[in-house]
Each structure stands twice: as C-alpha cells, then as structure tokens.
Amino acid sequence: MWEMVLAGLFAPPILFFVLGMVSVFVKSDLHIPPAMGTAMVIFLMASIGITGGAAAIESLKADPALIGVIVAIALLAMFLGPFFAFMTGTLFKKFMRTADAWACAGHYGAVSSATVALGVALASEAQAANPAAQIFAGWMPAVYPFMDSSALIAAIVLGRMALINEQGGGEKADIKKVLHLTVFGMGVWVLVTALFIGMLSAVYSPGELSRALLFFDGMFRGIICLFMLEMGLAAAKQIGALKELGKHAVKALLYAFALPQVWGLVGILGAYAIHLAMPGKLFWGDAFVFATLAGGCSFVTAPAAMRANMPEANPSVYLPMAVALTFPFNVLIGMPMWMIVSQILWGAA
C-alpha cells in the first residue's frame, strides 16, 4: 500500500501542483493567463460531464436499478451539504466574527470543482490501470449541484439570520440568486449540461460520441496536469493573505486541515451505507469521488456567492483558508487517505 501512496503522491498532476506552489515561493514569473485558466475549467468540466453521462447510460443499460443508487446519492448529497455548512458555521463562530464564520461555512459545505476534477482523474487512472476490476463508473460528479446549492443556501440563510439576531438588520439573502449562481455558474453548468450531452449522444449518436470521447479522455489526463499547476500557483499566492487571520490563525489552520478530512470520511461512510443497502452498484472509486465532493472546500462559486450575499464577511479570511490551506492539504493528505479508506471498505486494498 505504501507504494500505491507514493505512486499517488508522485503522479504528474500532484507534482505539477507542487511545482506551482514552489514557483511562487521562488518568485518565478510563471503565470497562467486567465483565458487559459478558463479554457481549462471549461474543458475539464465538459470532459467530466460528457464522460460521466456516457458512463451513466452504459451502467444504466447494464443495470437499470442503478437509478435507485443515483437518487440515493443525490439525496445524500443534498442532505450533507447543509449539514456540513451548519456544523462548520457552529464550530467557526466560536472564534470568528459571525459573518466570517458563516461565509466559511458555505465554503466548507459547498463543492470544490478542482478537487472533484482531480478526484475523477485519480479514479480514472486507477480504473485505467486495472481495467478488469470495477472501480469507478463516472456518473458520480452528476450530484455536484445538489450538494453545492443546498450548502450555500443553508449557509447564507443561517448566516443572515445570525447577523439579524446580532445587529438587528442588514441585507436580506437572495435565495433565488444564490440558487442561480450555483446551478448556472460556469463550472457546474458545463458539467451538468455536458452530462446530458453525454447521455443523449450515448443513446442517439454513439458512434460520434465514442470518437469525441477519444479526444476528451486523451486530453483530460494532460490538461489536469496544467490545471493543477495553476491551482498550485493560486494556492501559494494566497498564503500571504493568511496573516489576516491574525491571532486565530492557528485555530483556523487546524480546522482547515481537519474538517475536510472528516467531511470526506462522512461522505465515504454515506456512500458505503448506500452500498450496503443496494450492493454491487457502487465501487470504491465512486465512494472516493464522493469523498472529494464532500471534503472539498469551494473556491470559485462560494467566494462569489459570499461576496454578494455576505459582504460583511472578509474575503481575506475565507479565500486563503479555502485555497491556500484546505486545497493543498486535501490534495496531499486527504485524497490519498480517502482513497485508502474507500479501498479498505470495498475490500480492494
């Protein structure tokens, strides 16, 4: 197993992430043009979506009862999002300003698309390295919006209520706008619609789809490297902002490290419970990707949602916590751990 962890830690995407971080420390002028960053996000989300959609149809054809598992996972996601947000907010408000605590709650409840993308990359690699076994079916990222929207809405509603209690006034949360932002925000939107594209094509145009998938699959394993390079740059650039956390820095650091690990494990256990109830339909790769949905800390949708709906919260608290602490820790510690735990539960380790 030790070898597998090493293989994971020295996989090209992880090393490119480290390269990105080091580039900032040594003050290299390496930078990813924003257009290139956006292009990579669009590609990755489209690729995850279309591949997942095609996989879903294939799996459903083989076993129509899978739909029950998918619904169960979606419901679980919809419950876990707000649950994570509530727990995070409750824990954080003990040492943070109310607004900051609930803004962080939204981030830790919501989904991080970069984390999911890396999770999918690792699960797909595991599947590719071992084609005989059933490891990862690809449809899992489809439940993304269920967890994401519900978590952000919960955090904002709870946060605004807390602020009203505290200050007796302030903004009103615009739930409709938050829902819109999370469902129609670039990342989720491309993922979900590409999922439908994959499903529709798989049914009506399988020949064309299979040729398109050659492109998406082949590119994915390379683009994820360059994307992780960008993430490494972004993470390291936010480290400086951590000093704004001031005297609570140590506490914030501990939570930023520990919480996602727990949320990820809760995700795995939830998936495992569904697996026990409806056996033979979920595999360790699926559980692992669900852990990356649960354990990731959003840093694209959540910051935008919070800046608009909790302007009282300080972006210099939540941005660096999500980008500079939780994401690197998840990449380097959380994901290997979630992978091992999933494998152990499914008896694959």
Partner: protein
Amino acid sequence: MELIAAKKVIIITEALMEQQVLSLLKAQGAEAYTVIRNLTGQGVRGVRSGQCLAGFCENVRIELIVKEEAQAKALMEAVYNKFLAEKYAGIAYLEDVRILHHGKI
C-alpha cells in the same frame, strides 16, 4: 464646433460588482458609460492584484460623462452609499471635461 463643459464621474471598484453598479447607475438615469476591465490596484482595503481565481481580486473602472455637476454628484453618492461606503472596495471621483457636442450627454 462647440465644446461643452461637462463632468466625468469615475468609479473604480471590485470587478465582481460591475453589473450591480451599472444597474444602479442606470436606475439613477445614466444612459451612457464606458467600462475598462482587468485593472489591478491597491487602496485602504488591501491589494487587488488580479491574482485570485475567477477575477476575484480585480478592479473595474466605469466612467460616465454627464452634463450637470448635480447629476454627477447624485450618481457618485448613490454608488457610494450602496456599495463603497462599507461593503466593497472602491473609489469615486470627478473631473471637468469638455465634450464635442453631438447629443451625447
């Protein structure tokens, strides 16, 4: 040709707020403006270096030429009160200009 004295209002604020600020300005009667994106800067609310993801730490600059000082001030104050006073980074200032008259202000 005639040059007409007018006021140019300039608002620099967080890129994320562009749409909301423009909506407010339109609601206040502004019908013409120019927007420059992808600015960076520094002010009392920290460095905005353009280095966060999703344009989160970039600024945007909106400029509007209006005829009357009163209207210029009203626009600035509306934006200031709703956005810049407490919640969002940004400044608003005013310059004297003379514009070629062709029904633009």
